[in-house]
């Protein structure tokens, strides 16, 4: 992963387990800590798919509500693999929301039209036009490959975590990621050629 993604806090599973135990017992500060660590990553995953801030926010709230319910009811049994579990819940919720969106798609919605969203400054050292081009290219990836890319770059998951979450061998995920990068490079190149 590039330098930007290295800002992710290193995961200390014992520390996370302690926070989860405290949160399950009603410790407000511990739950806020969990939210602070993970909510933006879940939000980015959702935003990448639905391209709507309000919906991504709603999905993020729903994911944490589900996680809290499981924790509160003692239904969380994947000690040491919280991140994989959280993102599995998130991906399921996002898939459902996309199903709903597809069925209720409004053809005048900018998110449906694609590429017509407002283009604010990205603030991440890459111009917004390039990011927009990449978003369009990602739409053309097969779902399974896109999922790997989003979990890796938006959710900041390691390949090992993804392997646990998806039940796929590490090598398979690396190959799919590699293939997705090549496809994205090709798609972005083609689009650039079309514009010229």
């Amino acid at each position: 992963m590039g330098p930007l993604a290295e800002a992710k806090q290193p995961v200390n599973e014992d520390e996370v387990a302690g926070l989860l135990a405290a949160a399950s017992a009603g410790d407000e500060a511990a739950w806020r800590d969990i939210i602070a660590r993970y909510s933006k990553r879940v939000f980015a995953l959702a935003k990448s798919r639905c391209q709507r801030t309000d919906l991504a926010e709603e999905v993020t709230q729903s994911v944490f509500a589900t996680v809290a319910m499981k924790l509160g009811s003692g239904g969380y049994s994947e000690r040491g693999r919280f991140e994989s579990w959280l993102f599995r819940v998130a991906m399921n919720r996002i898939r459902d929301e996309m199903r709903r969106l597809k069925r209720h798609a409004d053809p005048t919605d900018p998110a449906v039209l694609g590429g017509s969203r407002a283009a604010p400054e990205s603030g991440v050292g890459v111009d917004e036009a390039t990011l927009a081009k990449l978003r369009v290219a990602m739409e053309q990836l097969p779902d399974a490959d896109r999922e790997i890319v989003e979990l890796r770059h938006h959710g900041q998951m390691s390949f090992r975590e993804m392997s646990e979450m998806l039940g796929e061998p590490l090598g398979t995920l690396l190959a799919r990621h590699h293939r997705a990068l090549k496809k994205l490079k090709q798609l972005m190149g083609e689009e650039g050629e079309d514009e010229s």
């Binding site: 992963m1 590039g2 330098p3 930007l4 993604a5 399950s24 407000e28 739950w31 939210i35 933006k40 990553r41 939000f43 980015a44 990448s48 801030t53 926010e57 993020t60 709230q61 729903s62 944490f64 509500a65 589900t66 996680v67 809290a68 319910m69 924790l71 509160g72 009811s73 239904g75 599995r88 399921n92 919720r93 459902d96 199903r99 069925r103 209720h104 990205s122 991440v124 050292g125 890459v126 990011l131 990449l134 978003r135 890796r152 770059h153 938006h154 900041q156 390691s158 390949f159 090992r160 590490l170 090598g171 690396l174 190959a175 990621h177 590699h178 990068l181 090549k182 994205l184 490079k185």
Partner: protein, 162 residues
């Protein structure tokens, strides 16, 4: 091909490093685009679920019997399938005249049912496969509906008038 070091990290080939860096930037941009209220909103929506009874509208989710939820969702999917089948066999929207109104009403019901099923499924992350079945069911139902709408004069099932 990517290689893996001892820590499981990927070594990206040089020709793909640009794309990877742009993806990192896109991910960072999406994270940064989170509204400032995100954490507080998430907290308000979730903290009460950690303990004690919760308020509507999530009470329905809270009261679900987790052990039986899979069966309930599966039963709901099956019932919807049966309902769609019965509706199709009984002529669906093939009645002419005021059929437009009837069709709208049926479509609306189908949309609501599918939304309800997805809500149920969303509350149980171990039921992902049912999402696919709900999708398939919905697509089957709408394709039957659309084909019947497109050919209002077409033969009905079992029609032997020819």
């Amino acid at each position: 091909m990517n290689s893996i070091d001892e820590g499981g990290a990927m070594k990206t080939p040089d020709e793909l490093k640009n794309v990877e860096a742009t993806l990192d930037a896109l991910g960072e941009a999406e994270r940064q685009s989170a509204p400032a209220r995100l954490a507080q909103g998430v907290f308000l929506a979730s903290y009460s679920k950690l303990r004690g009874p919760v308020e509507a509208p999530v009470v329905r989710v809270r009261r679900l019997n987790w052990a039986g939820l899979g069966l309930k969702v599966a039963a709901a999917v099956a019932l919807t399938g049966v309902a769609v089948g019965l509706w199709t066999l009984s002529g669906g929207n093939r009645t002419s005249g005021g059929s437009g109104v009837v069709q709208v009403a049926l479509s609306h019901g189908l949309e609501d049912d599918v939304d309800f099923l997805l809500d149920l499924r969303s509350s149980a992350d171990d039921l992902a496969v049912l999402g696919e079945r709900i999708d398939t069911l919905y697509l089957d139902a709408t394709s039957v509906r659309d084909s019947l709408s497109a050919e209002p004069g077409s033969l009905m099932l079992g029609d032997t008038s020819l």
